[in-house]
């Protein structure tokens, strides 16, 4: 196959053959396997930790709240913490996506479609693993409605993809100014306590409530709680604002994936 390399692109000429398409599929599988293997490392429970992590963290906060005698519902905490951790992790993965565009194969260039394909598959599986354990507990232990469980799983997928999209847009900036990672960490920490992750929006008031109205996470977590028959303010929130946030987030994820090829190429000579 003929390949043309210029300052603008590195592309192959003509249609990809069935063999090339099969090779790409094998490479996607390899990259996924490598990512998950690296994540599980030598841990005895491996990927099970991805399922356990939101459950354990929720239980810790539940304990803290019971000590503080706060009357927050268990389901509200489980949903809030799971969705916030998913947002946090996906955003960070998006921001770090620029670090390795080789796909882990060092002797040959991997097509960008392979990288994008493996990123999408990874995100889907990661979103599922991080929300599945909690969904199961909500269903079996707390007798949550099925529609609520399904909504929770769908919102987990949405929030994971959208956060990664935002992270991917921040990635070039982070590469140029690595200090941004610290700033983002502090912002996320503040948002964790300030946004309705640990408590329903209805318990906030005044400026705190107003600020949360301007935070997209609020809309997702309150929607999930609504379908789980929990305390939720979603019907009192401005759906036009939600639509606006959704539009921006969807645009950022489309942009995030579409700039990978250009970005990958540009940063090969950065050090």
């Amino acid at each position: 196959m003929e390949r043309v390399i210029t300052s603008e692109f590195c592309k192959e000429v003509g249609e990809l053959s069935p063999e090339a398409l099969k090779l790409d599929r094998n490479r996607m599988k390899f990259i996924l396997k490598k990512k998950f293997r690296n994540l599980s490392g030598r841990k005895r429970l491996g990927l099970v930790w991805m399922v356990l992590d939101p459950i354990v963290v929720s239980l810790v906060y539940l304990f803290v709240f019971s000590v503080l005698s706060a009357r927050t519902s268990i389901v509200t905490i489980f949903v809030g913490i799971t969705l916030f951790r998913l947002t946090q992790n996906s955003l960070k993965i998006g921001m770090n996506s620029i670090k390795d565009f080789t796909g882990g194969l060092k002797a040959e260039r991997v097509r960008t479609r392979v990288l994008i394909g493996s990123m999408i598959r990874y995100r889907t599986i990661d979103n599922f693993l991080q929300s599945f354990g909690v969904a199961l507990i909500l269903l079996l232990v707390f007798d949550a409605p099925l529609i609520g469980i399904i909504s929770f799983l769908i919102i987990s997928q949405l929030i994971g993809f959208l956060s990664e999209g935002v992270g991917m847009n921040l990635a070039p900036l982070v590469k140029k100014v690595p200090d941004l990672i610290n700033v983002v960490n502090y912002v996320l920490m503040t948002l964790f306590f300030a946004s309705p992750a640990l408590y329903p929006l209805s318990t906030t008031e005044g400026i705190h409530y107003k600020l949360n109205e301007l935070h997209p996470f609020t809309y997702f977590v309150e929607t999930a709680r609504y379908f789980l028959d929990e305390q939720s303010e979603i019907l009192n929130l401005d759906y036009r604002l939600f639509g606006f946030f959704l539009f921006i987030l969807v645009a950022s994820i489309i942009r995030g994936y579409s700039i990978i090829d250009r970005l990958r190429w540009r940063m090969t000579t950065w050090s």
Partner: protein, 249 residues
Amino acid sequence: MVLEESEVDKNIPKSTVIEISEFSVDYHMFKRSRKKPLGEFEEYNALKALNININDGEIVALLGRNGAGKSTLLRSIAGLLRPSKGKIVTNGRVILLAGADPGFITQLTGRQNVIELALAYGISENELPDFIKSIEEFADIGEAFERKLSGYSTGMRGKVGFGFITALKPDILLMDETLGVGDREFRKKASKRLNEFIKRSGTVIISTHSIGLARDICTRGIVLDKGGIVIDSNAEEAISHYINMTEKS
């Protein structure tokens, strides 16, 4: 990701498998100074407007001092570095042999790694048993082949990695001198395997400091210095020029 046929220059002769025209590479290095405490990117010119045509079947020695731009050129041809100017057109599958790690997963055994990587490098399931056997026999690490790679020594990992990459079938092989792994006995074996690999590959470019290797197997030589071509000629002439150049300095 793909270009239309009409966008491609049809004037390139069929036998030319690598066409490099006016090709320059600039690295962008982050630098902090008193004047710019937040830092800025500084450009460093690594390759300067190179023009090279390489034909099918040629074995080219890329000679030059450290930092002359040899590795940059190989990585550029492999499609791993973005040029600042110019163009490279390659025709065929390009494999870069630089180091002896094709992309190992350390949590898997040697055998599992070979299987996973083989599929990712386009080895078909029919070819797989022979492919694995060839690497197992070459690496000759006994029962360690069934152990996780995380427990391998650098030498063992190098043997499996070198065995793997040299079992592939590229149309264009780019080699960045890599025989630094293993013991004396292994190097002898590796040298033999490398020669077979080179013969099997259509076109080869070897970046090397070894005059012997360049003289023995190369048909053409290119000497680089400070990112530019000093001489592009037959292997013997290029080697003589390189020797003179290094002796003077």
